[in-house]
């Protein structure tokens, strides 16, 4: 029988298992209904899970709010487009690509990996500068990074198509592909969070000064988590492009930045389970409200929300959640098996977010 501490460490790995099961149930339930629109919603939701979990790897562990992740997402999405589009299409829409890229015609999977790696590399370079800052200055610097990526991608005519959309991406991302990547992101996030570096980083989140006094190199751990986070965000960008089939720089600016952060905060920024919960709850809520807006008939009476009500209600719900549960729905706790009773429960090792 291992001692209590080892047991606890081992049980921490039950979190990704539980989260994967929840997502699997979600996809299976959607697949059973056979509804095309629902399947599409499920795929989009799971791409968002990949994105928000990727975001959490950095934000959740370091406590630094990043506005820049939509930038890594854009980098991943366009990279995958450059690698997978047909050479004829690229010659037509993106004439200024270098020759080796213009003739490239990769399979989608290695392209997704390459997109993640490129985003991770950009995260390494940008993070090397930005992460010398902390607190709100770091957040503003990440925002400046996002604005730089956005400006470049929406003006670099021959390489990104600027504001005219890039079309014709293979739409291979269905619920199952997205599920596979979401689970991969969750497993990686959990491995990182429970690694020596992840624990050290969380120590700096709780108290920068005390952590530094204990010999933790904050900069190095933040940079490492940003690189891993950049990888999955880049992959999420590639998946996003291949689920819609169309790319436009506007998709990777403030809208997605705030939705992703809102999902993270509503779910609970302090835990991986919070990230996943936030995405599922808000995505389902948005879907339900969109359907209500289109109108449902209950008995003889047709009921429809006035148009525009969906966005307003989403905003109101977000505010209410934050007022009633400022630490998010999960309050920073993880879903995991408990040592003695071995049943699903909230872990009470509450971590505060700051």
């Amino acid at each position: 029988m291992p001692d209590k501490h080892t047991q606890n460490r081992l049980l921490a790995h039950s979190t990704p298992l539980i989260l994967a099961l929840i997502l699997l149930t979600f996809v299976a339930a959607v697949a059973l209904t056979g509804d095309r629109a629902l399947a599409r919603m499920a795929a989009e939701t799971l791409v968002r899970v990949t994105l928000v979990v990727g975001l959490w790897i950095f934000v959740g562990n370091s406590g630094v709010i990043s506005f820049g992740h939509a930038g890594y997402m854009a980098i991943g999405a366009y990279c995958s487009a450059w690698l997978t589009l047909k050479p004829q299409a690229k010659a037509l829409f993106l004439p200024d690509l270098p020759a080796w890229l213009a003739s490239a015609e990769w399979h989608v999977f290695p392209a997704a990996i390459a997109s993640g790696l490129l985003a991770a590399f950009v995260a390494l370079v940008s993070g090397a500068a930005i992460l010398r800052l902390s607190g709100i200055a770091a957040s503003i610097a990440t925002f400046a990074f996002l604005a730089i990526v956005y400006t470049v991608y929406s003006n670099w005519e021959g390489v990104t198509g600027a504001t005219s959309s890039v079309v014709g991406l293979t739409r291979y991302v269905g619920p199952w592909v997205a599920l596979a990547w979401a689970v991969a992101a969750i497993v990686a996030a959990n491995l990182y969070a429970n690694s020596a570096s992840g624990l050290a980083l969380r120590a700096t989140r709780e108290d920068e000064v005390a952590a530094r006094a204990s010999g933790i190199d904050q900069y190095r751990h933040r940079l490492l988590s940003l690189v891993i986070s950049g990888f999955f965000t880049g992959v999420a960008g590639a998946l996003f492009g291949h689920s819609l089939g169309v790319l436009n720089p506007d998709s990777f600016y403030l809208g997605i930045t705030f939705i992703a952060l809102a999902m993270l905060v509503v779910g609970g920024i302090g835990s991986l389970s919070g990230a996943v919960t936030g995405v599922l709850v808000l995505s389902l809520l948005i879907e339900a409200l969109v359907r209500l807006e289109q109108g449902v008939s209950i008995g003889a009476a047709a009921l429809a929300l006035p148009s525009g009500a969906q966005e307003i209600l989403i905003g109101v719900v977000m505010i209410l959640v934050l007022i009633l549960r400022p630490a998010g729905l999960t309050g920073g706790a993880e879903f995991r098996l408990r040592a003695r009773t071995s049943r699903l429960s909230f872990d009470q090792e509450q971590t505060t977010t700051n």
């Binding site: 709010i65 800052l133 503003i140 610097a141 400046a144 000064v209 705030f258 525009g308 109101v316 977000m318």
Partner: protein
Amino acid sequence: MNTLAQLFFDAASLGGIYAMAALGIALIFGVMNLVNFAHGQYIAFCVFALIVPSTDAVAVVFLGRAPAFLLIPLLLAVGAAAAVASEYAVFRHMRKATPVAMMISSFALGFVIQNALLATYGGRPKAISLWPELNTPVTVIGASVPLLQVIVILTTLIVVAGLALLLKKTRIGLEMRAAAENFTMARLLGVRANVVITGAFALSGALAAAVALIMATQTGVADVRMGGQIMLVAFIATVIGGLGSLPGAVAAGFLIGAASVLLQAYLPLDARPFRDAFLYTLVIVSLLVRPQGLFVPSSAKPRV
């Protein structure tokens, strides 16, 4: 000389708008550590308060029809009321929440305001003509500038001077400065938290209304998205200036205005579309050089 003067007026008037918006954000940040992302929507709200609610393409001027001496105080009051109401409805219940949670809820509030405006006024930008005669050019020290630019510069100076007087000479101003310095300590010494916070929101909303008036006159358009860009620049100005420092926010606002006008004028033609990328690179560089802000109050040093 001629072009230099022209550049100066462009920079000063753009910087003035940024400075006023940055003040609106810095005031609230100072007293309650809230990065208020709804500020841009206060601006949009004030612009739309000028016209009759309808989804038609042609805007019928409503408040905007009042003569200037009535309209200006009225719109400032509308802005202040909107900001105070939002504090009442949302932020009052979040005093104990983390800054991140407050920031996200301010974003959610902005989202609600924006969509409420969309639902009442429709999504298309509308033409409004508010004081069109102000866009006629006048000649000042050899440069031909729209009268409005001169007015913007003067307004900014008056607003900044007025605010400085308010903060230095009145009781509420003193309380606000104390609260910005150290909120807990100020409360212990008898500063009334709710009064100070409500005051900060009212001032911030009035500043948003001033920006709204200027933008509506300058562009002649009412668009739901018009506050967003200004707010982001203002937010950056607040941080570069040194969070919690009001003079810093004003100076940084002018600095960003000047930098963006100069980049626009002197970048090579090919690089000009990428102007913002250069501007934001400068922002990152400035943060790396002075992480606490360019114009730092002594209280900004992190304490252990």
